[in-house]
Amino acid sequence: MTGAGATLFVVTAIFAIIGALITVAARRPLRAAMGLLVHIVSLAGMFLTLNAHLLAALQLLVYAGAIVVLFVFVIMLIGPEAETGPIEGRLVSRSTAGALTLAVFLVVATSVGGFDAAWIAVDADFGTVEGLGLAIYRNALVPFELISITLLVAIIGAIAIARSPTE
């Protein structure tokens, strides 16, 4: 990766990290949602550096357009007052969680750091609509159909729980 690609990667990476930090650290829930939005848009930019245009568009469409909107929507419905105080928790559990996280991070970082793999040339249709379409509807048809069932179950379940008891 050279030139414009590298620059774009660095910029989007920085924004992605900033967005993620805002998401976690912001006190107001809506600002956290906005941090998530920044993060997601940056990720879409990163997909662009990987030549995955369709994935970038879908990232925006699904995550920025649907999921963040849903978050914002829920925050607005619950009300702007629903701000959380500092998280309660015992020192032991918090430090254990922190140590575990650190350990996992270190393990992954050392393993990935020593990772040595050859670059693989991608196909010409990599990242294109045709390429992704073939991948989804021909090679990975079974998982695709399974996902549709998963979503169907989620919808039915949500309706079953939310439907008014009188019906």
């Binding site: 809506l30 600002r31 909107v69 609509v129």
Partner: protein
């Protein structure tokens, strides 16, 4: 292609898009809409903003009127003569005149246009004189006054609001609307090296090729959906950040309405993708140029009606303007906005109207395709005629006609949207949701299914072939 040409053409294209959308269409739209509302309510409307010319200029204009009238009459006569000659040649089939047919046609177009322009100039000059030097341009200066007002008005920020989000809202709402134009093709590809030659009708042409759109993305229309979907957040967070119950309710309404209709918006277009076999807008335009406009396909026509309904709902305009329904919510999420921030929402809405017109024109009405216009010029040939009237045109003229026609189509759709805006009453909220989830959504899914059946059974191919022969 050299990098300089690429860069220059890109910049030119971006400037063109901005000028057309933000610079020209949006202000004209603001004017047209206010004008129309004034007509309906029998008011004077936005027509009083004027530039006052000095008396000397008025006197000069008065003097220039007579020459203009003469010019109009002269050019008009020549144009009529040319018209008669062309018609005669066309009916006769051969051209016994010493002047070639192409020259005659060019004369007809050139002199006709000149005479119309001169007549308009004559009328306008007369109006200026009658108004004692006040140039009002049909009230078109009013948007300019509006813009000045927006800029200089106090930028009120509610004291307890979330200032950052309050400021970010309008920006998030405006940018996606403009960004959508990045992938819209205004004409077929421009062959820069042969710009003043007549190109062959088909086949590859060597040399530099400049696509007449800012960015040719593989994802095409999905890009528009992707950026448009982020626009929802703008409305939602400005409703939240205003620290006002009406704003909040308006924001919630906006978010739920737009999220709901976005689903339908995408699904109604799927049959079109199935026919054109591409998501690229330029491919869709080319398909329609080579075959027939999408609207002549019955299923796509149904898709168009549903798409247009959903798209108007997506722009949150009457009859779907519940997020800002003034009888219930004061101004919805716009309530607390003033000055340029309000102006940005306003602008965003109108740019969306233009974008919608452009998308509808591209997907269903042939984009830049002009009937009988090919890459080598006009060829008026009807099915019952043995050979058509061929008017070879230089490449740049063909492109210019395509751009003009495309803009004309956009104007038609904008007019259509304005008509809808002033004709239909507002929906009730449950009707709005019912229309989306119980009406448009199942219907659009059915449409996809039917289109799939047609394609797989080969009916579509036969139908397209039939249209091709016509």
């Amino acid at each position: 292609m050299t990098t300089e040409v690429l860069l220059l053409s890109s910049i030119l294209k971006i400037v063109f898009v901005l000028v057309v959308t933000v610079g020209a269409f949006a202000p004209v739209l603001i004017w047209a809409e206010r004008r129309q509302s004034a007509m309906i309510q029998d008011r004077l409307g936005p027509s009083r903003a004027a530039i006052v010319l000095p008396p000397s200029a008025v006197a000069f204009i008065d003097k220039a009127r007579l020459p203009m009238w003469r010019g109009f009459a002269l050019t008009g006569i020549v144009a009529i003569v040319a018209l008669v000659a062309v018609t005669w040649v066309a009916v006769r089939g051969t051209n016994p005149l010493p002047i070639p047919t192409a020259t005659l046609t060019k004369a007809l177009i050139g002199f006709g246009a000149a005479s119309v322009l001169l007549r308009i100039g004559y009328g306008v000059h007369g109006m200026i004189v009658r108004n004692q030097g006040k140039v009002m341009v049909l009230g078109l200066l009013h948007p300019l006054a509006d813009a000045l007002k927006f800029i200089f008005k106090e930028d009120f920020v509610p004291p307890k609001s979330d200032k950052f989000l309050f400021a970010a809202g309008p920006i998030i709402a405006l940018i996606p609307a403009i960004a959508a134009f990045a992938v819209i093709p205004f004409a077929s590809t421009l062959h820069l090296d042969h710009w003043n030659q007549v190109l062959p009708r088909t086949g590859e042409v060597a040399g530099t090729i400049i696509p007449m759109q800012v960015a040719s993305l593989d994802v095409g229309i999905l890009f528009i959906f992707a950026v448009a979907s982020t626009g929802i957040i703008g409305a939602a967070i400005s409703g939240y950040a205003s620290d006002n119950k009406f704003s909040l309710l308006g924001g919630i309404r906006a978010a739920s309405q737009m999220v709901s209709y976005e689903v339908v918006l995408g699904l109604t277009l799927v049959p079109a993708f199935m026919v054109y076999r591409s998501l690229r807008l330029e491919d869709m335009a080319m398909w329609q140029h080579e075959h027939s406009w999408g609207i002549f396909n019955p299923l796509l026509a149904l898709g168009f009606i549903m798409f247009f309904t959903a798209a108007i709902a997506e722009t949150k305009r009457v009859p779907f303007d519940l997020p800002e329904g003034e009888s219930e919510l004061v101004g919805g999420y716009l309530t607390e906005y003033s000055g340029m921030k309000f102006g940005m929402f306003f602008m965003g809405e109108f740019v969306e109207v233009v974008a919608l017109g452009a998308i509808a024109a591209i997907l269903f009405f042939g984009a830049w395709d002009v009937p009988f216009l090919y890459r080598d010029g006009f060829d008026f040939r009807l099915p019952f005629m043995a050979s058509g009237i061929v008017v070879p045109l230089a490449h740049w003229i063909v492109i210019a006609i395509q751009v003009l026609f495309f803009l004309l189509k956009i104007v038609v759709f904008i007019w259509f949207q304005l008509m809808i805006r002033w004709s239909l009453p507002r929906f009730r909220y449950d009707q709005l949701m019912k229309l989306c989830w119980k009406g448009l959504l199942p219907l659009s899914l059915l449409n996809i299914l039917l289109m799939g059946v047609f394609i797989l059974s080969g009916v579509l191919d036969k139908y397209v072939g039939l249209l091709d022969r016509l």
